[in-house]
Amino acid sequence: ASELAQYCLMLGDDALVYAQRLSEWTSRAPDLEEDIAIANIALDLVGQARLLLARAAAADPALVPSLPEGSPVPDEDRLAYFRDAGAFRNVRLAEQPNGDFAELIARLLVMSTWRLAIFQRLVDHQDAVVAAIAAKGVKELAYHRDFAGRWFVTLARGTGESHRRLTDAMRTVWPLIPELTASTETESRVGVDPATLADEIGVVLDQVLAVAGITAPETPGLAGVRGRTGRHGMHSEALSRLLAEMQVVARAHPMGRW
């Protein structure tokens, strides 16, 4: 049970942290249609995060941070708001600070392609809750990927500036891809072994890049510390700042009702 909980935490934290970055875009997008679409994607991911964190808490109550006696804060919020950066299990791609719209699109293309591949396999997971979360998520993630893919091609085929910005964005995002397909024991044992997804993801990305007429940058993967990366709680400097903002109100009111 504990390992299932850890796995749900990984997938839940990916969604939560990335949704936080996406929600920073609100009222800042290039046009209203994109503002609405980005908020929609963030909403989908918050929804996924809630289900996955709740599942993690149910599978292993020991994971849930304890609060003062009588606190009405529900488990999903204890996990979201009362853990420090080192206890988060998301990949580092999710937590990177936002760049421009090209960075948003490049990152969303990679994140949604990867997550969709995972969820498609989890549809048959032996844990019925995880399977149901995956079934619902697959539809959402397919939409996210379509949105990103369409914009990716648009930016690639748009103006000189959009093409330049997109290739810059890819240099930022691509080094974080190898972490997405690096196996951890937990993932291979109770979920989808990320290493088995590398080819599938590569094929999808190559297709989009081919339509866009763009070649992938040749960058090595971003190193961790002694091989430990986001899944092991070893994050970039950005995560603790993200959490300082995200958690500030909740932590100021451990006995609060919202």
């Binding site: 609100t26 046009d31 609405i36 908020a39 103006t159 959009s162 909740a250 009702r257």
Partner: protein, 314 residues
């Protein structure tokens, strides 16, 4: 080519008199069109600028449920802006042109959004009082004479009532929480009460356009009528919530069957309308930055569309 406008004007007046709707294809007086553009654009701008004060708290929402609710609400505001800009487009002005008028300060938006949001309780108070006041203003507009505007308002009002209930529910939940949370709610209500009252505009005596707008069916009630309705509606809600409004003159007037209330600070009102409220500069600068930062994306989208079209026609 000069056409005789008399029959067109007659038809227009007849439609208005019958409480029927003017549609984009119909003839309308230029002054009516301009007044509508100004009003609908101001409404659209208010939705878009209104994303900021609440958007300020999305990244700090204290529970995941509230984060989802707030994201969805701010997203709805973008949607309202979208319908309303579309309505103005039927009057012959593009969204892009209106956005330029907004960020250059030529067009206004609701002054309420020039007040800062300082705590999470403000998200609830904006839902309850600000959306509440907006609904009072807007429900009559569902019957407004211009078709696209009236239909947009029907949809918007439905969503606004939903937002209002959500805001009230947030405050209700917080009032059942800790002492700090209750204090936070009261402080927020104290801050927003007077600006909310000002949302109905200056007293009728100082509102020169009201008569013409009412004659055209663009407006259905005077500012003071709507303000009174809002006060009467809000008082029992405040009691149920357990908060007070910061107005010593507020009391039930048996004779009128309404609440008496104090005079808002109209000097502050005009100050904010003229652009000198606590957040006017910040709000417009934020919108301008988003618009400017997005220019290259909109250009790329046009260029790619043109390219796709050219390739398709080969």
């Amino acid at each position: 080519m000069q056409v005789d406008q008399a029959p067109l004007e007659e038809a227009f007046e007849a439609t208005i008199a019958a409480n029927d709707r003017i549609e984009p294809r119909d003839w309308m007086p230029e002054h009516y069109r301009q007044t509508l553009i100004r009003q609908v654009a101001q409404h659209a701008h208010s939705e878009i600028i209104g994303m900021q004060p609440e958007g300020n708290w999305i990244t700090r929402a204290p529970s995941l449920r509230r984060k989802a609710v707030l994201l969805a609400k701010v997203q709805d505001e973008a949607g309202h802006g979208l319908y309303l800009y579309s309505a103005t487009e039927t009057l012959g002005v593009s969204r892009d042109e209106l956005t330029r008028r907004l960020i250059s300060g030529k067009q206004k938006y609701s002054s309420i959004f020039n007040y800062p949001t300082l705590t999470y309780a403000d998200v609830g108070t904006i839902g309850w009082l600000v959306d509440g006041a907006a609904i009072c203003n807007q429900v009559p507009l569902c019957r407004t004479s211009y078709g696209p505007y009236g239909r947009a308002m029907i949809r918007i009002c439905k969503e606004e009532s939903f937002h209002q209930r959500q805001g009230y529910e947030l405050l209700m939940t917080m009032m059942r929480g800790t002492d700090e949370q209750r204090a936070m709610v009261q402080e927020s209500v104290d801050r927003f009460w007077w600006p909310a009252l000002m949302m109905f505009g200056p007293p009728d005596g100082d509102s020169p356009n009201t008569a013409q707008s009412m004659a055209w069916g663009i407006k259905r009630h005077t500012n003071d009528e709507l303000r009174q309705r809002f006060v009467d509606m809000s008082m029992p809600q405040a009691e149920a919530l357990g908060v007070t409004f910061p107005d010593p003159e507020l009391k039930w007037n048996e004779e009128r069957g309404s609440y008496d209330y104090g005079e808002p600070d109209w000097e502050e009102f005009w100050h904010v309308v003229k652009g000198n409220g606590p957040c006017n500069t910040q709000r417009v600068a934020h919108r301008k930055a988003a618009y400017d930062d997005g220019a290259w994306v909109r250009e790329a989208a046009s260029a790619a569309a043109a390219r796709n079209e050219a390739e398709a026609s080969q």
